[in-house]
């Protein structure tokens, strides 16, 4: 091989790397535990929710990379968050998120009660897109404000899964068919133990399992059926740095009637966070979240952070009047929320140079 050919080969390989490398992404692991409830219905509902959650890794019509979605084979020891943390914390599992729940038989379907547990492993990742930090100076001293996501455990409203949507399989390896085409075509195999995903669509997935590459057809869980699925997808997308996808999911959450207040507050915060991360202002969402409950310290912190973000953006422009107004707004918000924080709170102390 000549020198020129060698250089071209290296350039092509490196270019290929850049095209395929995930941007700011780290291997992510989601566990969907076995659901409690009468068999085989609970197992089928479990399989259905498992495939629905695969779609959470869809990123702007392209599948996400660097992720494992694990199918729990054992019951939780107890139906609580600690048991979910244990199940996710096994060395062989090491999941960042766990989705778990219970199933109850209903007239023409099942009622599913879902929970979402964010495990401490999230904080151990090298790359954490969900962390929001702002850097500025106090004179010559660099300061950094940081906020972590507010939630660790979520409980959702029960929802109905109609019979016609529930997959008739008690686990993915029980014979779910793989087709040669996305529509039509013929059955070319069934899902084995390990699946590698290539394309994710609302009602079909292109995958390879045990050497068979083809399409699996999944009926989507209707959008209005459960805020649990949309909220969980939103959290997955947020933790993966998929800002557009997470906003879409959390905006869907906000459309649910009778949405519990704590879910509404966090959905607004997450939308605001995703907007800020994408270079836009999330101040409107942070204001809405705070207005739901002015005694909510987390909502107050995000509102303060949103105001700081606005000040730092305005500092880059020449509008002194707008900057002055933004500082005044920060002062006003701080006065209204100061009592929620401890007297010597170091996070609050960092706001002083901006006032």
């Amino acid at each position: 091989m000549s020198n020129r050919q060698f250089i071209i080969l290296v350039i092509v390989l490196l270019f290929g790397l850049n095209l395929n490398s995930p941007a700011e992404c780290e291997p992510f692991r989601l566990l969907v535990t076995k659901f409690a409830g009468p068999a085989p219905v609970s197992h089928r509902a479990h399989t259905t929710v498992y495939f629905e959650m695969i779609k959470a890794f869809k990123s702007i019509d392209n599948p996400d990379k660097g992720a494992w979605i694990l199918y729990g084979m054992e019951n939780l020891e107890q139906q609580n968050h600690d048991a979910a943390l244990l199940a996710a914390g096994w060395p062989s599992v090491r999941a960042d998120l766990a989705i778990w729940g219970q199933v109850h038989i209903y007239d023409d379907g099942v009622v599913v009660q879902l929970y979402l547990t964010l495990t401490p492993l999230i904080k151990k990742r090298r790359i954490r897109p969900e962390l929001w930090h702002l850097n500025f100076n106090d004179g010559n001293v660099p300061l950094r404000l940081e906020l972590d996501i507010p939630g660790k455990f979520y409980q959702f409203e029960p929802f109905l899964l109609p019979d016609k949507i529930i997959l008739a399989f008690e686990n993915p390896q029980q014979g779910i068919e793989i087709y040669s085409k996305r529509q039509g075509g013929q059955v070319i195999g069934t899902i084995g133990e390990v699946m590698r995903f290539y394309e994710i669509h609302e009602n079909s997935i292109l995958l390879n399992s045990d050497g068979v590459k083809g399409w699996v057809r999944i009926k989507p869980i209707l959008q209005r059926q459960s805020e649990a699925i949309d909220f969980s997808k939103g959290v997955v997308r947020l933790l993966r740095g998929d800002w557009r996808g997470s906003r879409r999911s959390f905006n869907n959450v906000l459309n649910y009637p009778n949405l519990p207040q704590h879910l509404r507050t966090h959905a607004l915060i997450y939308i605001g966070l995703a907007k800020e991360k994408a270079g836009k202002t999330g101040l409107n969402e942070f204001k809405q979240a705070y207005s739901i409950n002015p005694l909510n310290k987390v909502a107050a912190a995000y509102l303060l952070m949103g105001r700081v973000s606005k000040i730092l953006r305005l500092k880059k422009t020449s509008s002194q009047k707008q900057l002055q107004n933004a500082r005044y707004d920060l002062q006003k918000t701080l006065s209204a929320t100061r009592f929620l924080f401890e007297q010597e709170d170091p996070w609050i102390a960092k706001l002083k140079p901006l006032l």
Binding site: N3, V10, A67, W68, G72, S92, P172, V194, R196
Partner: protein
């Protein structure tokens, strides 16, 4: 000669990087506890330790890895509370045995807040 060696080194580095990124590019599903789904670091240290104990000849052969796990558990059954584990828990039992034997590379997988390893062992302390 030097130029050829440099080429080989650069090509090796690029290919290695590609292989690492391919693993990061994986998007896959599996039963929890499946050998394919293990974190790469855990899979690596487990296989190296099993190879050290001569349970494993070839790294990255899933079939051999599975047999090595079963063989290791069988040979250490006197320490374990159960002889048979569910497939989902076999790797965890092996990790706990490794931790108990004092192999520090597994320490990060031990959770002090939740001593899940204690459920695998009999009450008698490890004599080794």
């Amino acid at each position: 000669m030097k130029a050829i060696n440099l080429k080989k080194i650069i090509l090796f580095l690029v290919v290695s990087t590609v292989l690492i990124l391919i693993s990061q590019n994986t998007f896959a599903g599996a039963p929890a506890g499946h050998l394919s789904s293990l974190e790469p670091h855990l899979s690596n240290i487990l296989q190296k330790r099993l190879q050290y104990f001569n349970y494993l000849q070839q790294i990255d052969n899933e079939h051999e890895f599975s047999l090595a796990i079963s063989a290791f558990l069988w040979d250490n059954r006197s320490k374990l509370a159960y002889i048979k584990f569910s497939k989902a828990r076999e790797v965890d039992a092996v990790v706990c045995l490794m931790i108990r034997k004092g192999y520090s590379e597994f320490d990060e997988y031990y959770n002090m807040d939740n001593d899940f390893c204690s459920r695998f062992f009999k009450d008698t302390p490890d004599q080794n």
